[in-house]
């Protein structure tokens, strides 16, 4: 197994799928020679040509819409939206078209479309380039929503997404692109709807997504020094969500904390709380479920403010300790 970056893993997944299936193609702004804003597709245009690694005009609605149309007639487009904040410009095509077509048409059409997009803060790019908008898409039936945290996962999940016959919104994280991890050379996929216990523990369950998985793991490591045993669960996909694994873990630990980068109000963390409260785990709760989440503000530019707007390792450490006192 090789150590490669998350960004490389994304690229490899796409390269291998482009090789495997001639119906797969890439479309997005500046994904060709430039390689995309984060260099993820760099070099791919040389390998696959400008037809299959297709630079587009700056027209997010039409980019996704064209993806929907191409998908309906047999292609498997992977569309890149340069920053996930710009999904708002393509919301109609994602939410009212891609998500609904299969159902609205009584199952007679399918839309095997992947919308890849980087989310998250931490690059100083401010309010319109730093959001974590997964909750918006998780609320819309018909979409699948993916949030990989590691190179291994991102590659396997992206392959699953490309092979899935449904529209998938695939949230990568800008700060994770340079993160390294082991990835096998062989073809593999990571299934949707299967959470992973990234660290097992007994005192509290911490459910975390995307980059927060790493912060939660680091917090768990620190807390281990104080003899606090934290179980960290990464759902990998929000839709479908593996509630079972979470419920089991909560039954075991009796405590649940959810960590997300997205703004707290109306974020996906709330959904997890509601699911667990409605489950059999409710009776096993020794303390209220808490959310450690982004503040309810746009992401500010100034560095210290930006960092304070979203959960950091020490916030998680502190919150876990407080939770254990309850």
């Amino acid at each position: 197994m090789e150590e490669i970056t998350y960004g490389q893993a994304v690229r490899d997944a796409m390269r291998e799928e482009l090789q495997r299936d001639e119906n797969v193609f890439l479309m997005g702004e500046d994904i060709g020679v430039y390689g995309g804003a984060f260099g993820i597709t760099f070099g791919m245009i040389d390998e696959f040509g400008p037809d299959r690694v297709r630079d587009t005009p700056i027209s997010e609605a039409a980019i996704v819409g064209a993806g929907v149309g191409a998908a309906m007639v047999g292609m498997r487009p992977i569309v890149e939206i340069m920053f996930s904040d710009f999904l708002t410009l393509a919301s109609d095509q994602i939410m009212n078209q891609a998500a609904k077509i299969h159902y609205m048409l009584g199952g007679k059409a399918k839309v095997p479309l992947v919308v890849r997009t980087p989310g998250g803060s931490g690059t100083g790019a401010a309010a319109q380039h730093s959001q974590s908008l997964e909750a918006l898409f998780a609320h819309i039936p018909g979409l699948k929503v993916v949030m990989p945290s590691s190179p291994y996962d991102v590659k396997g999940l992206l392959k699953t997404a490309i092979r899935d016959d449904n529209p998938v919104v695939f949230f990568e994280h800008k700060l994770l692109y340079s993160k390294k991890g082991e990835v096998p050379d062989t073809d593999y996929t990571v299934p949707f709807g299967e959470a992973e216990i990234k660290r097992s523990g007994s005192d509290i369950t911490v459910f975390a997504t995307s980059i927060m998985v790493h912060r939660a793991l680091e917090a768990a490591e620190q807390l281990a020094n104080e003899n606090i045993s934290v179980e960290v669960i990464d759902p990998k996909t929000l839709v479908p969500l593996d509630t079972e694994t979470i419920v089991k873990s909560v039954i075991k630990t009796g405590r649940l904390m959810i960590v997300q980068e997205a703004c707290k109000r109306g974020g996906f963390a709330s959904e997890v709380v509601a699911e667990v409260v409605e489950s059999e785990a409710f009776g096993y709760l020794d303390a209220p479920i808490t959310r450690v989440a982004g503040k309810n503000i746009p992401i500010p530019y100034s560095k210290k403010l930006e960092a304070a707007a979203v959960p950091q390792v020490e916030d998680i450490v502190k919150a876990v300790k407080e939770e254990l006192l309850q």
């Binding site: 119906n23 193609f25 037809d51 299959r52 587009t56 005009p57 027209s59 609605a61 039409a62 996704v64 819409g65 064209a66 993806g67 929907v68 149309g69 191409a70 998908a71 309906m72 007639v73 047999g74 292609m75 487009p77 109609d92 095509q93 009212n96 078209q97 077509i101 299969h102 159902y103 609205m104 048409l105 009584g106 199952g107 007679k108 059409a109 399918k110 839309v111 095997p112 039936p141 018909g142 699948k144 016959d165 449904n166």
Partner: protein, 320 residues
């Protein structure tokens, strides 16, 4: 260009079927047998039959909320359409879509759209796929005058032009988007004038002349199939009925409506067919009767069809 008699008869029949279908829908709606919302294209029948017949059976089209005529022209089964409008399990969408979502990919119908302008990028993407896969197929994309003010119109036509996609855009200019006269919301004389912004050919023609609609579309289809890129065709026509169920028609005059009724595309085509001795009055009468019967049978079929069972509620959310 010389059109075969067979094609002309087919177009007349489709126009009649559309007219009768929608008159029936109007009636059933009033009776409460069709619910929700439905948009009638009565008066605009040439805008469907003309362009759609320029397609081959396996070409694609994307249509609008006012799309019954295009469905029929593309070969939709009237029974199944009617069943869909009545919300029956046997409908094109198993009763889940209704009038504004009728679609049938097997017949190349990518579907109506409840979002004005929503289908334009989808059609464009379908055309991109044809080009990439070298299928030789083309896409016909319908939209209204009002839709030409949506951002998707601009983004899509631009894309189609830079990539020289095999697509023909057909703007059904019936002078109004709901109550809004296109003259008040579009500063150019014609919507086709906008084609130049995309270095695209733009043509405005009489949308009540089914033969002209056919011919002009056909030329554009040939061009698209040859890889010579997209065309924007605007047909001028008129919607006789209100925009949808509840429309007091306060934004236009009775005279205007009456004036346009005199320009009925079906009457006009029938007169032509008789004058050219392609059909006799007798034959036309027969076709009208058989079309009416087809509609009656469709109503029967639809009425006798079951409503979807509640078990179907959560089915069809995801494809497997």
């Amino acid at each position: 260009m010389k059109l075969s008699k067979k094609l002309k008869l087919r177009m007349l029949e489709q126009m009649l079927l559309t007219r009768y279908f929608e008159e029936k829908v109007d009636e059933l709606f009033a009776k409460g047998l069709i619910h929700g919302t439905t948009h009638l294209s009565i008066g605009e029948e040439a805008m469907a039959a003309g362009p759609v017949n320029a397609l081959k059976a396996d070409d694609f089209m994307a249509i609008t909320h006012r799309g019954h005529g295009s469905c029929i022209a593309k070969g939709a089964d009237i029974n199944i359409m009617m069943a869909e409008l009545m919300g029956k399990e046997t409908g094109y969408c198993k009763g889940k879509g209704g009038s504004i979502h009728v679609a049938n990919l097997e017949e190349g119908n990518l579907g109506a759209n409840g979002i004005v302008g929503g289908g334009i990028p989808i059609a464009t993407g379908a055309a991109l796929a044809q080009k990439m896969q070298n299928t030789g197929k083309i896409v016909l994309c319908f939209f209204g005058d009002g839709a030409s003010n949506e951002g998707t119109f601009h983004e899509s036509l631009n894309m189609a032009s830079i990539w020289q996609l095999p697509i023909v855009y057909v703007c059904v200019n019936n002078m109004y988007g709901m109550s809004t006269c296109i003259d008040d919301v579009c500063p150019t004389n014609n919507i086709s004038d906008r084609a130049s912004a995309y270095q695209m050919e733009g043509i405005t023609i009489d949308g009540n002349d089914v033969l002209e609609m056919f011919e002009v579309t056909n030329n554009a289809v040939i061009k698209a199939r040859k890889g010579q890129g997209p065309t924007l065709i605007e047909g001028l026509t008129y919607r006789w009925k209100g925009h949808s169920k509840s429309d007091a028609n306060l934004y236009r005059t009775r005279e205007e409506i009456e004036e346009w009724k005199k320009k009925c595309p079906i009457k006009r085509f029938q007169t032509y067919l008789i004058e050219q001795k392609i059909m006799s009055e007798e034959e036309i009468k027969k076709m009208e009767e058989s079309s009416l019967e087809t509609i009656e049978r469709a109503v029967e079929f639809a009425e006798q069809s079951p409503y979807p069972s509640l078990d179907a509620l959560e089915e069809d959310l995801y494809a497997y």
